[in-house]
């Protein structure tokens, strides 16, 4: 395959530089290094590798199969791991029957009719569960409907609809309460109270909010579940937590009651589908399989190599070139494309060193060497080193079928475990099993010394390629597939389709953005007008209009709106106003209009006053508007 010009140039340059710098010396035979052993022990006890130091660590069954047969070696090098071997794993295969003996005996006694009865009970329970769920849904809908009804305070401030505190799950809060009980009982009771509220909130019995008191919750519970014990328990907690002195035994009893009730609430809520179980994450459990600090991770190897190399890169992007001054490229369980192997082959051919551990699809084609793997028939051996195999009889390591190699660094029986081939001007070191480089393996005996000596010495830049190295994609769909977001995108697409369908044809079209300034005032005025219309209070309406109109006229005409006589004179003399009335008539009209509420029933006079006022306002305001426009 022909390399692309930039890649070829980069590879060539890298090879020239490394070739000049290092020559073509093969890797040295590994030797024991006491400093490495001490370094490994220090790192294993640093807390970054919990399998070796954490008391509650659990192993996956696969790890137990691989490691736990070597209890004696584990005890010496990594006692935490030995303890984890005695602890059950989540998926541990059990030799015991899955059901207790009495259940087997009962099943045999009941025979065929027992199965029928069980099925009837099962369906009855399922039906009851569905009914309960339906009831809960109807209640929830009713509750949300009643919550959505307009409240008078809505105009003042946003009503508290969101949870603003205590989003932690109830079990976590309860554990904290238990921990605080001896030191600070009042704080423990506060935490228990919060835990109970969190459980009630998760179960949908109450809406938890920081501004609600026990009385509010009790009323809510009394409405939703009159038979609930939670209300009285909340009240008891209130009694206990706000007292100045707290009885420790009483607090303990209250915590126990809270724990019992939360268990019941959680189970019922789970059965009714009201909640999502949570809170198990804090308990001691297995590491994720790919965790760098787990038993199968490569964190320790990487740390040791990084400490020795002047420059070290964990490669995340696909292999398109090898950086200049790279002395060793390490490939561990990587999924590389043929082109990437070609680039690495070019790097080695020009004097580089490549360490390949584990299966390497595509290696054979690029390097022209055959890799045949078989289970190791015997323990690992290496000259002058004491190696411990991380594999066991049930899950042995694999070895390489012997071929013409330039040097064999380690073997297991008749098979090669690590060997060196010359390729062009450089060298390729093959390690049959990548698990030899993992954290547990390096914890044993001289394994770490052996693994580090596989990296060519003296080292320059080290490029670390593994499963994390991006395979890249030829087209966007492959990229989506590689990222594993295909199902999410499909769900999103379906949701968006439903949204578009629900919105109808107007979906996506811009909304009317016509501003509604002073909407509240406009609504108020409309409501006020409706009120006057319904009550027939023409006098009141005219009086209020007159108050506003006189203020406007006074402001526009430059005279005081308190002195109506002066205002009448000003209006009468104004060229802007043409009402055909005398000064006294205008004065009387203004007086009559402002006192409209007290004049009562003379409808004709009130209407006349209103019309004249309106005319004057229009004329004055219109004149002002024209003047403003001219400006």
């Amino acid at each position: 395959m022909r390399l692309r010009p930039p890649l070829a140039r980069a590879t060539l340059l890298a090879c020239v530089v490394t070739g000049l710098a290092l020559g073509s010396e093969p890797p040295q035979t590994p030797t024991a290094q006491p400093t490495v052993r001490r370094e490994v022990e220090a790192r294993l006890t640093s807390g970054r590798y919990p399998f070796c130091s954490e008391d509650s660590y659990r192993l996956w069954q696969a790890d137990k199969d691989r490691l736990c047969e070597r209890r004696a070696e584990l005890d010496a090098d990594c006692p935490g791991l030995a303890a984890a071997c005695q602890r059950p794993s989540w998926d541990e295969a059990s030799s015991e029957p899955t059901s207790p003996d009495w259940l087997w005996e009962l099943a045999q006694l009941l025979g065929e009719s027992g199965g029928t009865a069980f099925r009837v009970l099962y369906w009855a329970a399922l039906g009851l569960g569905v009914l309960y769920l339906g009831r809960a849904l109807v209640r929830s809908m009713r509750r949300s409907k009643s919550d959505a009804s307009p409240q008078p305070v809505a105009t003042v401030a946003a009503s508290p609809t969101e949870e603003e505190w205590s989003t932690q799950p109830a079990p976590v809060l309860l554990d904290r309460a238990q921990a605080e009980l001896d030191r600070d009982p009042i704080r423990a009771l506060h935490l228990a109270y919060a835990a109970l509220l969190a459980a009630l909130g998760q179960a949908g019995h109450v809406r938890v909010h920081r501004a609600l008191t026990t009385g509010d919750y009790r009323r809510a519970l009394a409405r939703a579940q009159p038979e609930s014990r939670a209300g009285s328990l909340l009240w008891d907690l209130d009694w206990a937590r706000f007292q100045r002195s707290v009885d420790g035994e009483g607090a303990r009893r209250l915590l126990l009651r809270v724990r019992e009730l939360i268990s019941v609430i959680t189970v019922l809520a789970f059965l009714s589908g009201n909640t999502v179980l949570s809170g198990c994450a804090h308990s001691g459990g297995n590491e994720p399989v790919g965790s760098p600090g787990g038993p199968r991770g490569l964190g320790l190897f990487e740390e040791l190599a990084r400490a020795r190399a002047p420059s070290f890169t964990r490669r995340l992007k696909r292999v398109t070139d090898v950086p200049v001054a790279t002395t060793t490229a390490i490939v561990v369980e990587a999924h590389l494309r043929p082109l990437e192997w070609q680039i690495l082959a070019g790097y080695v051919a020009t004097g580089g060193h490549l360490l390949v551990a584990g299966t390497a699809a595509g290696f054979e084609e690029a390097f022209g060497q055959k890799l045949e793997l078989e289970p190791c028939p015997a323990p690992l051996t290496a000259p002058a080193l004491e190696l411990v195999s991380p594999g066991s009889a049930r899950a042995p390591l694999v070895g390489l079928v012997p071929t013409g190699a330039d040097a064999v660094l380690g073997s297991c029986g008749a098979l090669h475990f690590a060997r060196v081939h010359r390729h062009g001007n450089g060298w390729v070191t093959l390690v049959a099993d990548a698990s030899f480089l993992d954290n547990t393996s390096l914890a044993f005996s001289d394994n770490a010394s052996f693994a580090l000596d596989l990296i060519k010495s003296p080292v320059g830049h080290v490029e670390f390629i593994g499963p994390w190295t991006g395979p890249g994609a030829l087209h966007p769909l492959e990229s989506v597939t590689n990222a594993g977001v295909g199902p999410w995108l499909l769900h999103l697409l379906a949701a968006l389709t439903l949204l578009a369908w629900s919105r109808g044809r107007r979906f996506g079209s811009p909304r009317k953005t016509a501003a509604q300034p002073r909407r509240t005032l406009a609504e108020h005025v409309e409501a006020l007008a409706g009120h006057y219309r319904r009550s027939g209070d023409l006098g009141g309406a005219v009086a209020r209009y007159a108050t506003w109109a006189i203020a406007v006229l006074g402001r526009r005409s430059g005279s005081s709106n308190r002195d109506l006589r002066a205002l009448a004179e000003s209006l009468h003399g104004s060229r802007k106003v043409s009402i055909g009335m005398s000064k006294d008539e205008v004065h009387q009209l203004l007086l009559r209009a402002r006192a409209g509420a007290e004049l009562g029933g003379d409808k004709a006079k009130l209407l006349r006053a209103f019309q004249v006022l309106r005319t004057m306002v229009d004329e004055v305001a219109g004149h002002t508007a024209q003047r403003s426009n001219r400006r």
Partner: protein, 318 residues
């Protein structure tokens, strides 16, 4: 007096009041709490809801001396406080005490009198004494003012000034009874109940009332509760709908009435519910809303409710 005795008497008082005043349990509870906390009450409601009846029932069951002043526009301060009258026979001035010299004073329709007459009550309510012609005369103990006012009429009325309103520990709103309660009320009337001739025996005497007024002072208040009260009252001073917030006297009043509520429940300590349940009654007459809030139809109760809904309760986020 022990808390248990206090709770027992409180229950009996409440039961006796509720047996006459149907469907006004909350009003009765508030009124009783204010009286036992030693505070004055302003009762507001439209005519015919039993405001005066409530006061009369209270006076009967508390065994206190009761007087009534019907406030009118031409009422003079001396009609409230009393005054010195020339005695031609002795050739000297004799002091004739006004109705304010009583243990339980009903100021009926207090907003019908002008500000000058209303102010005659200021000293009496705060200092529990009256100064006439330069001589200060103490009022009897206990001295409790129960004032009523009608919220709908504005013609010929004189709204109480803020200083006067602040003297009232609680403002209680009396609302219409429910349909069922009204039916019960009609049935009682049909059976011969006459509110003018109440046949109620006193539950306690004057000495017991005085003793009860000291019990809430023994109720403990934690720092978190004090913080809660302070935050509620402080919020009234920064709320966007309020022009004038509540005074420190409001904080003290809320504390007093919360302690009384705790004692009525038989508790020697205050919980947040005690505070929250009385916050509206303590604050609603002590805040002044902006005029535009009034135009929008927002009431003081709405504003206090919104403040309570935004103020975090102590102890829940621990």
């Amino acid at each position: 007096m022990e808390l248990r005795d206090y709770q027992d008497i409180h229950q009996r008082l409440l039961g006796r009041i509720s047996s006459v005043l149907l469907g006004q349990e909350e009003v009765s509870l508030h009124a009783l709490a204010a009286l036992l906390a030693g505070g004055h009450i302003l009762i507001e409601g439209v005519p015919g809801l039993g405001k005066t009846l409530l006061v009369r029932v209270l006076s009967r069951v508390l065994g206190a001396e009761f007087r009534r002043i019907q406030f009118t526009p031409d009422l003079m301060p001396s009609d409230v406080t009393g005054g010195n009258v020339w005695n031609a026979q002795t050739g000297s001035f004799d002091f004739h005490p006004g109705p304010v010299f009583s243990e339980l004073l009903l100021a009926d329709e207090v907003n019908r009198a002008p500000a000058k007459t209303q102010s005659a009550l200021l000293e009496a309510m705060q200092e529990r004494a009256v100064t006439i012609d330069g001589k200060t005369r103490p009022l009897p103990r206990p001295f409790l003012v129960l004032a009523t006012q009608n919220p709908i009429e504005s013609q010929g009325t004189y709204p109480l000034p803020e200083a006067q309103l602040d003297r009232f520990l609680l403002k209680v709103n009396v609302s219409y009874p429910s349909l069922d309660v009204e039916k019960s009320l009609l049935a009682a009337c049909a059976a011969g109940f006459d509110s003018e001739h109440l046949n109620l025996e006193p539950v306690i005497d004057r000495a017991t009332l005085l003793e009860m007024q000291h019990v809430p002072e023994t109720v403990e208040v934690g720092p978190s509760i004090i913080d809660y009260i302070a935050r509620i009252v402080a919020a009234t001073r920064t709320h966007r709908a309020i022009e004038v917030g509540a005074s420190p006297r409001a904080s003290i009043g809320l504390l007093r009435v919360a302690r009384a509520a705790a004692a009525a429940d038989g508790r020697s300590f205050v919980v947040p519910d005690d505070v929250k349940s009385f916050a509206r009654a303590v604050l609603r007459h002590r805040i002044v809303l902006f005029p535009d809030s009034g135009i929008e139809g927002i009431t003081p109760d709405d504003v206090v409710t919104s403040i309570l809904a935004e103020t975090s309760v102590p102890g829940v986020g621990a």
